[in-house]
């Protein structure tokens, strides 16, 4: 091997993994993505978004059908738009932009990301604080701003702790987040089941539903009434579809989830996002709405202002505080981390600690304002609108350019500082998207579609003018050589790293796993079932409900202790298998 080759290989080895394509031996099967998307999309946000659909005045039929269609469109978007590009490039969007969009585009992109991730983090910490406020006897916060200084203190304190945890212990919290998924799924479903009888009793005088049409009638009369919080006719089917689809625009059309799907063996694994879209969004949003409406009626408050902590408490008892705190933090943590990374990219000349503290300070202030979490759905939709042009630009490079004979990585090959076509395209699309919004021509939830299409067209035209259709023989040669070296480096890694994911299969681990599944998941599910289907009158309902509350908190404790133990023991097995080089059974 020549010195040049050796130097290149060494420099590749010294590079941050994030800046290189994901090697083949680190790719994951479908099970990984089923779990990952389930945990990402069953979170504290679902409490808020469910209530938002009620406040926006959707009808039950539009919800049942619209959410199905909208979330299906989201799954298809991940499958057909995001996954193919992620699998082809094996890069995160951030890295792709760094490689191919010059200096300014990634900085601006990261600047936008800072704001978006800060908003999501702040919102989720506020959600957690709504649970904690009850424990400290602080009144409900029903205004967009804090009306009690102690609520602000709690939210700010929770933010400070979250920022420190994200900074020092991100990996631990991220790991902890992975064991939450099955539990969150059960709790969200159980919460809705537990409150249905009391909601039904207020309407009909009966605690029991005799058919699905009873449920539809109940939900239509008490939850999804078709009248919004201002007393006007609410949103229709198209808007429901649009919100469901647009809730994750920045992740699918905006390609942010390239960061996750770059690890997929095949692009069809984009369909695995269905666990997040169909369960996390569809079921959890409806359940959260039911819980919110029932709690609002019990507390004689508007659903627009009833706090997630109070909802979770009525639905799940003390476990409700756990779910809101855990769901809030496990969502806030990765978003805080992303916000910190994005901020470092925007301000590379400022020390990492200082930047993280700056971001943290904004989160601390933002978390004191309930306004942010109550507006999370429109915030997500507008965030998508800001970021989606870049998704279109990358889509153009990866799908359109090869068909037109252009170079996908033309800017990198050309070697100029900034990608002017990308900058101009982004600017035009923002003006277009927000201009359409101002003119109110189409519902704002659909603005990402024409904006995305426009970005593809404009970028293709401009990139050609700037040289995307030319050849760069020297640069292409260097690039090919570099890719060859990367492949060789990956082959070396593959030989060294054990690439089979090992799941603990010893008897003790299996026993532990069985216990947390039965006690942590099945028992609460059965108890919730009893509350819904075995409460012939209100007294029996209260008896069943209290039993559910009293037992579920212990089930929750056992679940987390044992699931965490299972995870740590499995990891220890994995590490010892890797260090011994022994063959171990794969999953």
């Amino acid at each position: 091997m020549s010195n040049t080759t050796t130097d290149t290989r060494q420099s590749i080895a010294d590079m941050d993994d994030e800046l290189l394509p994901v090697p083949r031996h680190r790719l994951h099967g479908p099970g990984h993505f089923l779990g990952l998307y389930g945990s990402e999309h069953v979170a504290a946000t679902e409490f808020v978004i469910g209530a938002a659909f009620v406040a926006m005045g959707a009808t039950i039929h539009d919800i049942l059908i619209g959410l199905l269609i909208g979330n299906t469109l989201a799954v298809l978007s991940f499958w057909l738009i995001t996954a193919p590009i992620a699998v082809k490039t094996r890069l995160s969007l951030y890295t792709y932009l760094q490689h191919n969009m010059g200096e300014l585009v990634p900085r601006l992109y990261n600047g936008a990301n800072v704001l978006i991730f800060v908003a999501i983090s702040a919102a989720m910490i506020t959600v957690s604080a709504t649970a904690v406020r009850a424990l400290f006897d602080i009144p409900p916060q029903i205004y967009p701003y804090p009306t009690n200084v102690w609520f602000a203190v709690i939210a700010a304190s929770a933010s400070v702790i979250a920022v420190l945890v994200a900074y020092y212990g991100f990996n631990v919290v991220a790991e902890f987040g992975t064991i939450c998924t099955p539990w969150l799924m059960v709790m969200f479903t159980a919460g809705g089941m537990v409150l249905i009888p009391s909601l039904n009793e207020t309407l009909t005088g009966y605690t029991t539903l005799s058919s699905f049409s009873d449920f539809v009638n109940l939900a239509g009369t008490t939850v999804f009434t078709g009248i919004n919080a201002e007393g006007e006719p609410g949103i229709g089917l198209w808007e429901v579809i649009g919100f469901a689809w647009a809730a994750n625009t920045f992740a699918h059309f905006g390609l942010v989830d390239m960061a996750l799907l770059r690890y997929a063996k095949k692009s069809i694994y984009g369909l695995c996002t269905a666990t997040g879209m169909m369960f996390g969004h569809y079921v959890a949003w409806i359940s959260a709405a039911l819980m919110g409406a029932a709690t609002a009626y019990i507390m004689k408050l508007s659903i627009a202002v009833v706090a997630p902590g109070d909802v979770a408490f009525y639905a799940l008892g003390a476990t409700g505080f756990v779910i809101v705190i855990i769901a809030g933090w496990t969502t806030a943590n990765p978003n805080l981390y992303r916000a910190g990374l994005a901020a470092q990219a925007v301000f590379p000349n400022i020390a990492r600690q200082k930047v993280t503290l700056m971001v943290g300070a904004v989160v601390v202030v933002g978390s004191c304002f309930p306004f942010i979490y109550r507006q999370i759905l429109p915030i997500l939709a507008y965030a998508g609108l800001v970021l989606v042009p870049l998704g279109g630009i990358v889509f153009a490079e990866q799908h359109i350019f090869p068909r037109l004979g252009y170079k996908s990585n033309w800017h990198r090959l050309k070697g100029v500082k900034d990608n002017m076509p990308a900058l101009i395209t982004w600017g035009i699309c923002l003006a277009f998207g927000f201009g359409l919004n101002f003119l109110n021509i189409i519902p704002f939830v659909y603005l990402f579609l024409p904006t995305w299409l426009l970005s593809i067209v404009v970028y293709t035209i401009l990139a050609k003018k700037y040289g995307a259709d030319r050849s760069y023989p020297e640069a292409e040669k260097r690039e090919q050589e570099f890719q060859k070296q990367v492949e060789a480096y990956h082959a070396e890694l593959a030989a060294k790293e054990k690439h089979e994911h090992v799941r603990g299969t010893t008897i003790p681990i299996k026993i532990i796993r069985a216990i947390w599944i039965v006690i942590g998941l099945i028992v609460p599910a059965v108890l919730a079932w009893r509350v819904l289907f075995n409460s012939p009158n209100l007294y029996d309902y209260y008896v069943n409900r209290e039993l559910f509350y009293d037992i579920t908190i212990w089930c929750t404790l056992i679940y987390f202790v044992l699931a965490w133990t299972d995870l740590q023991l499995s990891k220890r097995m994995q590490r010892s298998a890797q260090s011994s080089g022994a063959e171990v059974p794969a999953e």
Partner: protein, 436 residues
Amino acid sequence: MTLRIAAAFTLAMLAGSTLARAETTLTIATEDNGDMIRMQALSQAFEADNPDIKLDWLVLDENELRQRVTTDIATKGGQFDIVTIGTYEAPIWAERGWLVPLDNLPKSYDVDDILPPIREALSFDGELYGAPFYGESAFTMYRTDLFEQAGLEMPEKPTWEFIKDAARKLDDESNEVYGICLRGKPGWGENMAFLTAMANSYGARWFDMDWKPQLDSVAWTATITDYIELMTEVGPPDAEANGYNENLALFQSGKCAIWIDATAAGQFVIDAESNVADSVGFALAPDKGLGKSANWLWAWALAIPAGSEHQDAAKRFIAWATSKEYLELVAEKEGWSDVPPGTRTSLYENQAYLDAAPFAKITLESIQAADPDNPTVEDVPYTGIQYVVIPEFQGIGTAVGQRFADALAGEIPIDEALENAQWVTGKVIERARFLQ
């Protein structure tokens, strides 16, 4: 020319003022009871006198009305301009700022004419939030012929001891005449309305000053024990299924010697549908000599949600619909006996009404004796006589009512019912107060 211009100008002004005084539509959410249905029919008179206001009525059953109105009113949605509420909701909603205070009513409305306990029950912090169109208390109705046959004389203010004794003497199951009929159907507004009032007269209370439930107290035990023993011995069969309507039917068909229930029943037990119309006497609800009797207080009222965009027009309608003139209109169209009772002092000074309603005096006395701010013998942290003015009471009352109905049916012993009642009340209130 000048005249033409002046005429044209005048016409233009008139047109302008007509446009300016464009029609306002008031949306009224109301319950499907007789008084409201009658009001809807008579409201054409209001529209005729107020051509700038159109009325749009939405009639719902009580549960759905509460549900829909609460949802809209809590969000200040403004779907409804006028809502029908009861004395249970009025203080809760007023405290939350959901209702418009009914100040600045016209002098002719004579707000001081509203019976003081009714006015108090519909007020919060000294301001009136609901204008009553119907009011009631509870009293004792009895068969004068059976009393005479038995040589008994009903005092004007009977005690529980007297009532129990009389019921036992008058019971004649072989002839399907039951000594006493009382509510047994479970529900916060059914059996628990009666049992709470009865418990008040026994010296019981729902909560002490620290909000600890008191269903395990001696007074509650005595109340429920006496109630169940009496009903089991001399009440009608399957009494746990009988609410107000069922007991009315029993009394009208001559099967109850004594019935303690709402004063609203007064007109029905003496009307043409009643087989015993000529043999009904009225007395106050019984007491135990502790200073509180088993009467209660309820009113249906019209209120204006804070989200309404037509508050002035709504006040005009409310002032008309609950005025002395409206009562006279009902009397003119349908007779004095159909005039909605229980709201105004002047009604009870009207001889024509007193002649048409022989129960009127007792009704007035029952209402005047009601004190929703001090409903019990001992001090309590709540208001409300046959309910507790807290949002959780509907659930608590219904659940407790179910246990007492089960005890009445013989399915569970009395002490278990009380224990269950204490437990469920404690759990629900603990949860509610935890979040306050």
